[in-house]
């Protein structure tokens, strides 16, 4: 038995710098320190030749994946054959990766148990990143909704002489009657008010 094998060299390609940083951090925390991160594929052949990665992690939506794969095919820049994922029989892991939006290319001949933790880490970090982005988006849209409702209330108060509470009650009642969100009603009202308002100077 060899003692401890040399840690694997990992190349992360992601146009999204924030996500790349999140993955890098995860892998570093897990003890992988031979990491290279790049954000675009210009000059990638040289980068691969220099770092000679055992594993390449790239986001699935990257338009340059075809470029990267063709490089493996030509194998001029890449000295060793590279396959996608480590084990084609591991369908569950492949599905999880595609769902998460990440793909991994692995040098031929590496043992599954050496590569799987890396792929799993990438998958979980991609999922965490997507969750974070979704939460951010929700927070943003909540803020937007509140602003819309405030504006709609203001319009009702000005045009119908309602109190703030009555203006809100009217919006809520309309939304319930039409089975729509209050923010949608507010948006239509703002649009309508904009259309009906006298042209501004």
């Amino acid at each position: 038995m060899p003692q401890r094998s040399i840690p694997l060299s990992i190349l992360i390609i992601d146009e999204n710098r924030l996500r790349a940083a999140v993955i890098e951090e995860g892998l570093r925390d897990a003890g992988y320190d031979r990491l290279t991160v790049v954000h675009d594929v210009v000059g990638i052949a040289r980068k691969i030749a220099e770092t000679s990665p055992d594993v390449i992690v790239i986001d699935l939506e990257n338009p340059n994946r075809d470029v990267l794969e063709s490089m493996f095919q030509l194998s001029r820049a890449v000295q060793r054959p590279i396959a996608m994922f480590v084990d084609r029989s591991d369908q569950a892991s492949i599905e999880a990766a595609v769902e998460a939006g990440v793909s991994a290319y692995v040098v031929d001949g590496l043992k599954r148990e050496r590569v799987k933790p890396i792929v799993d880490m990438a998958i979980s970090r991609f999922n965490a990143f997507a969750r974070m982005a979704r939460e951010l988006e929700e927070a943003r849209s909540q803020l937007e909704s509140r602003k819309l409702i405030d504006r709609a209330k203001g319009i009702l108060m000005a045009t119908r002489g309602l109190s703030e509470a009555d203006a809100y009650a009217l919006l809520r009642k309309t939304a319930m009657n039409q089975n729509r969100k209050i923010s949608e009603i507010a948006e239509s009202l703002i649009t309508a008010a904009g259309l009906l308002a006298p042209p501004e100077e």
């Binding site: 210009v42 699935l60 939506e61 990257n62 338009p63 340059n64 994946r65 075809d66 470029v67 794969e69 063709s70 490089m71 095919q73 030509l74 396959a83 996608m84 994922f85 084609r88 369908q91 492949i94 599905e95 595609v98 769902e99 793909s103 290319y105």
Partner: protein, 408 residues
């Protein structure tokens, strides 16, 4: 009540996604009881992966892709069939203004003739080498297993240019081609529309020749279908094939081109100006410097059995995979390539439509010098002209001879 089939299809933002897009947008899918969901993708690799894990049942694919998958040449390759083609032609070879100027010095033709353009390029390369240029010109294609790669190589080799020695072939995603040409990271490219128009309208390059001039009426994209799904859901597949056939017919009618261009220009599809689509659809290309040139059969969505999955097309792609060292030739591999294309499924699905169904599964490619009536069922059918620019013939029954003759 007819059963409704939900089918998810991946596609790339290219003019020849038109048939899939029209099937959905013009109601042809719905009329066949198909709820067609289209998902735009950013790479052919992504389309392949998402088919492999079952996100997509079918997809817009480069015609050689399903063959390469079945031969085990690509990662994550799940068995894929090609039951219908998505039109003929549609590509152009665009070069930088600098390369074009050099080609003009060497007698480049104004009419996009492939033979004359190839001779001009060879002479330009020779002159360039004499001046001491060391780096080879870089020409880009979209994928190693693509009609673009094979027709560009066929044209170069047929013009006396070794595509591996005299030129460097690189890979660039279609929407990035024009920018790469402007940035001078490449010197030319072969791609589907509207990505040549993107460069010529911007003044970044000149169309030197087109797919239709290299090999007229030649295959380009197919509908790839996951073989396992197609086996489980034959009715859904047949319904989709009928919808695509109707959509192809609609796309092929000149009076619909403005409407089609407007749909394709939408944010969910190609997301570029509708005018860009019209050049390819009409066949009157903006070739550069404000000039236009009309190409017969530049892109053929329906006429001339343009959606029929000819086994001879599959065999020709296979012959080029062998030629360029992507796969070793064996009778078994040749059979895998041939059997990827499924004219039997096409015929049985489309029979009720009364459209022209070729009687044969394969034909001698390049044999028709003029439009020629051929044997068909359903409606009469005229094929051709379909010549290769070098006048060669491809007889799928003489595959071994063809492969031996093109060996370098």
């Amino acid at each position: 009540m007819r059963k409704s089939h939900e089918i998810v299809a991946g596609f790339m933002p290219l003019l020849d996604s038109a048939i899939l897009v029209a099937a959905k947008e013009m109601g042809f899918a719905q009329a066949e009881g198909v709820e067609l969901i289209l998902v735009r993708e950013t790479s052919w690799a992504s389309i392949r992966d998402r088919m492999a894990v079952g996100h997509f049942q079918v997809a817009h694919q480069l015609a050689p892709m399903p063959i390469a998958a079945n031969l085990g040449l690509t990662p994550l390759a799940a068995k894929t069939i090609a039951p219908i083609a998505l039109g003929l032609g549609g590509n152009a070879v665009t070069v930088s203004n600098d390369v074009w100027a050099r080609m003009c010095d060497c007698g480049a033709p104004a009419d996009l003739d492939a033979g004359a353009a190839g001779r001009a390029l060879r002479a330009a390369l020779t002159a360039r080498a004499r001046e001491g240029a060391r780096e080879p010109l870089k020409l880009a294609v979209v994928h190693p297993f693509s009609g673009h790669n094979y027709e560009l190589r066929y044209w170069l080799a047929g013009s006396g240019i070794d595509p591996d020695r005299d030129i460097e072939i690189v890979f660039v995603p279609p929407p990035l081609m024009a920018d790469a040409l402007t940035a001078e990271t490449i010197d030319g490219y072969c791609v589907g529309e509207p990505w040549s128009t993107a460069a010529t309208l911007a003044g970044a390059g000149r169309i030197a020749t087109v797919k239709a001039a290299i090999w007229r009426s030649s295959p380009e994209k197919v509908l790839g279908a996951a073989a396992a799904w197609a086996e489980q859901e034959p009715e859904a597949l047949a319904a989709l094939l009928r919808a695509l056939c109707r959509a192809a017919q609609w796309c092929g009618a000149a009076e619909n081109h403005h409407e089609l261009a407007a749909i394709l220009a939408g944010p969910d599809y190609i997301a570029r100006p509708a005018e860009w689509m019209l050049y390819g659809l009409s066949g009157t290309l903006a070739i550069g410097s404000g000039a236009t040139h009309r190409i017969e059969d530049f892109f053929v969505p329906f006429a001339k059995a343009a959606t029929f999955p000819w086994k001879s097309h599959a065999s020709w792609f296979y012959s080029q995979m062998v030629r360029w060292g992507q796969v070793a030739h064996s009778p078994e591999n040749a059979a895998i390539a041939r059997e990827t294309y499924r004219p039997d499924l096409y015929r049985s699905a489309l029979k009720p439509l009364g459209v022209a169904l070729p009687s044969a599964n394969a034909k001698v490619e390049g044999a028709l010098a003029a439009p020629t009536p051929v044997g068909s069922a359903g409606a009469s059918l005229v094929l051709g002209p379909d010549g290769f620019f070098d006048g060669a013939l491809f007889d799928p029954d003489k595959l071994d001879d063809y492969i031996a003759a093109q060996r370098r």
